[in-house]
């Protein structure tokens, strides 16, 4: 756990550097987190997907899988990798202020 200043507010992060409390999130924080992930500008399309992540998390308690995003018509996998290069599930979850998605064994 560590707190730091981001987008003008103090935010707590867990050991994986994901936000400790997803309710403290706002779009300005998301834009900063996106920068940290190497995404320069957060487009409306990014925001749309990030919002979907948050809604899923709030309704079922976990972030959606890439397969689910594709299957339910939210975003095709190809586009998702273009929007969040190098690990879309993890990056989108971090930008959405959620916990690190659990890998399966």
């Amino acid at each position: 756990m560590a707190s730091r200043e981001i987008a003008g507010v103090t935010v707590e992060f867990d050991d994986d550097n994901f936000m400790a409390d997803h309710t403290a999130w706002n779009e300005a924080i998301a834009a900063e987190l996106a920068n940290e992930e190497g995404i320069e500008t957060l487009t409306d399309r990014h925001i749309e997907i990030v919002q979907y992540f948050r809604n899923e998390f709030e309704s079922i308690g976990t972030a959606p899988s890439i397969r689910k995003l594709n299957k339910s018509g939210v975003v095709p996998t190809k586009e998702l990798y273009q929007l969040f290069p190098g690990g879309p599930a993890k990056k989108a979850a971090r930008i959405a202020g959620l916990k690190k998605p659990q890998g399966c064994v």
């Binding site: 397969r67 689910k68 339910s72 996998t77 190809k78 990798y81 064994v105």
Partner: protein, 409 residues
Amino acid sequence: MKKLVILGAGTAGTMMLNKLEPVLDKDEWKITIVDQFETHYYQPGFLFIPFGIYTPKDVVKPKRDFFPTGIEAIQSRIEIIEPDKNQVKLENGTVLNYDFLIVATGSKINPAETEGMKEDMWRKNIFDFYTIEGTTALSKFLKYWEGGKMVVNIAEMPIKCPVAPLEFVFLADWWFTEQGIRDKVDIEFVTPLPGAFTKPKASQVFGDFLDKKNIKLMPDFNIARVDHENNKIVSWEETTVDYDLLVTIPTNMGDDVIERSGMGDELNFIPTNKQTLQSDKWENVFVLGDATNLPSSKAGSVAHFQADILFDNIQSAMDGRPLKAKYDGHANCYIESGFGKGILIDFNYDTEPLPGKFPLPGVGPFSLLEETKMNHYGKMMFRWMYWNLLLKGAELPIESEMLMAGKRA
């Protein structure tokens, strides 16, 4: 008469049948088990077939050998489960009503989920070893292969027996050495995981083994398609890996019947309470083994530990009592590492595989996360235990709850 229906007579269903049959009152309960096939496959044995260690006949027995008398066994494909009506329809026209249902329909590979995989070159230079057909075809191919580049790729997590692909490359390294062609073979392990395995300590240990055995590791590779005309796999980010021989672990999914019945998630796995094994949606439905969406490994040993928990909970449910037994995610896997040695890992939801000793009364101790001959014997002994103890529902000398004794944190 009250009715208990078990769907799937694989590892989990058969084991549960044999545990419950002796304890349920015969005047009160009728037990029915359904499976589409006549033959039971010892799936862990599929790993050894390409390398001539087992032949197909070493891994099969008739399912009926494991059914106790006095129960009803039906061979038919399951058409649809209708949990809101407490009934199951079979392809042969039978409609089964139930008071309690145990779903143990397992998981299977779906190569058609990846573009270009199940096309012209399927089982010509693209093989799986997760089915009897795949592993047999691969063994015939390898017999005459003179070398080249072998790529072993995991399409997508989760897969059943997540260590099997590593075991496959370890054994391949040994086998090509035995054949005298190791210098003509390049082996590359291409995985969507960030390292050789999911959990940090084990990932590092296995990563070192890959290095030592001169097997190349390509992490973070998420396959988008197979370019079977040019012998390349291509990731979503357009990274490519060439191969001469592709051994794939295709996307693993629950059976289509789960999708038809509207009971599953996007991979047809059934949302299940990770401690009690009750379905999240239906109180009188329990799920066991690979068919669940639990974040535990999909393995026979896991099905066994879960069965101990389900045994208690389903009886409580039948008596209208609260479900008290809780599954902790315990898994225990022997990993073949080649040259007559093996590695053992033991872990649960919260504790990653740790080094140390694993006490096993009468036989052990086994070394954890370390390569030993003893662990290899453990793996080979597992087949005997599987047929003679596990499927018959007998007690194994291993606790269903993970123990910290012997582990070094």
